[in-house]
Amino acid sequence: MSQLVRTRITSREEPAPGFCLIEFYAPSLARAAQPGQFVHIRCGEGSDPLLRRPISIHAVNRRDGLVRILFQVVGRGTALLARSGEGMIDVMGPLGRGFSRGQACRNCNNSSGNAPAGTGNTGDIIVVGGGIGVAPLHFLLQEIAGSGESGRTTVLLGARSAGQLLIREAVEKMGFVVHVATDDGTAGHHGPVTGLLANALRRHPGFVYACGPAPMLKTVCALLAEAGVPGEVSVEERMACGVGACLSCACRVRDAGGRETYRRACVDGPVFPAGEVVW
């Protein structure tokens, strides 16, 4: 269950200019957290900026009770968090519905690893992230590696330039095959990471996990629909309460009956089935 804790920051780093990695001590939060979930953090003591900032969980160390968040400094709130001096942090979490696991195997539904009749898809997994959207995927990849599935998982990472491929090294160390794309061509494919995804989908993966800026996710969803591959995307919306009460973080989705409706990114998401989100 989610909880409210005021706790100690154990480390703060700047993995690249304009990005911040904070680690804090919260054992029960670390135990409960699932990949794709987020924590809701106060930026300071005063009333300006007023609202908490939802930040996805980047990594947990359950043995030592540590949680890591990785975020981009984009405004006053995140700037305050990045330099909050007193060494304490006010955190609510874990919140939201994260990535579902085991989907690829279910879609494959064939223990021999051969393509199931009808779908033609394998049990392979693709994890695709762009920009700061890679933050929660790192946690997901930790879990995938922990369950011994790194061998059948391909990781695609996109960033503006080589210096901002934030999780590349860490993910390679976990044993994943990583392909990268940069907007400026300083590393890997010159262009959006969705270009790599289009190629990878030709190998009929069983499931795709994605997180990144909205235009990227829109393309991801279109590519998945075209290829007939199931997947999940983690969306970002402006959020106030974080617990499902205020209905601020409305995400437009198509329900089972095909009707468009709003769901709350904070409790119904932030991870949604790729086929449900209306862009």
Partner: protein, 307 residues
Amino acid sequence: MNLAVNLGGIKMKNPVATASGTFGFGLEYQPYIDLQRLGAIIVKGTTPSPRAGNPPPRIAETPSGMLNAIGLQNPGVDRVVEEILPRLAGLGTPVIVNIAGDTVEDYALVARKLDGAPGVVGLEVNISCPNVKKGGIQFGSDPRSAAEVTRAVKAATGLPVIVKLSPNVTDIVAMAEAVAEAGADALSMINTLLGMAIDVDRRRPVLGNVTGGLSGPAVRPVAVRAVWQVYRAVSLPILGMGGIMTARDALEFILAGATAVAVGTANFVNPRATVEVVEGIEQYMRENGFTDINELTGLAQRNVAGC
């Protein structure tokens, strides 16, 4: 020490309620607080039919405040009565339902369906939502329309009726007098202030709805002033709200004339805000030698010469 108050026939064990729209249907905050500690829970605005709400973005942060334009998203009164209220009824905390509609008949219909619903001790009539095209604020800015809605709701229910006033009027006292005359049992004030924000980089309004309602500490002085003015003119009990973050903020409203208070936006910042306000009021009373919260209502009025 007595913290209990009577808000127009609604008995509350302490003067602290949750403001409509900020507390969902109550259960969302259960992981963080004991809901039984609350004086009352005021649940989300409820309309005759389900409403999808406004397109996102629905909120924008502003200096010491926020704009919202949710657009009265709710599952409709039938589902509220059948599915949501029964879950709240077991809590032992009085539930007040905020009601809204496009027409006078809408308000009466919702009121009728809520009459006798389990756990419901009163209705808060939302004639002040700035975020829907019809209804809402249009009833809240004209004294005659406000009185008409009040009369219709009173005729449709045996429950105490609180009318929620908008600050987006020239003369809030005239509005209060009109709904008092029409039979309101209490007044709730204030709803949000109409505002807007523009994204300078994208050169367009931030909110999908263009305009929204401003809440948070930024609006508190406006709200305290409104309570002060209305308390002097109208004898109905007042539920004061607008940017209450702490017990001291709540006490400003009570000293200005509020019988009870509601905590809204603060829930987003501190999910324990309501309970901390209750505890802080108790501490203030102990430290200052008060034994009954009702002694504090309007006390600041009596300390002003010539008032």
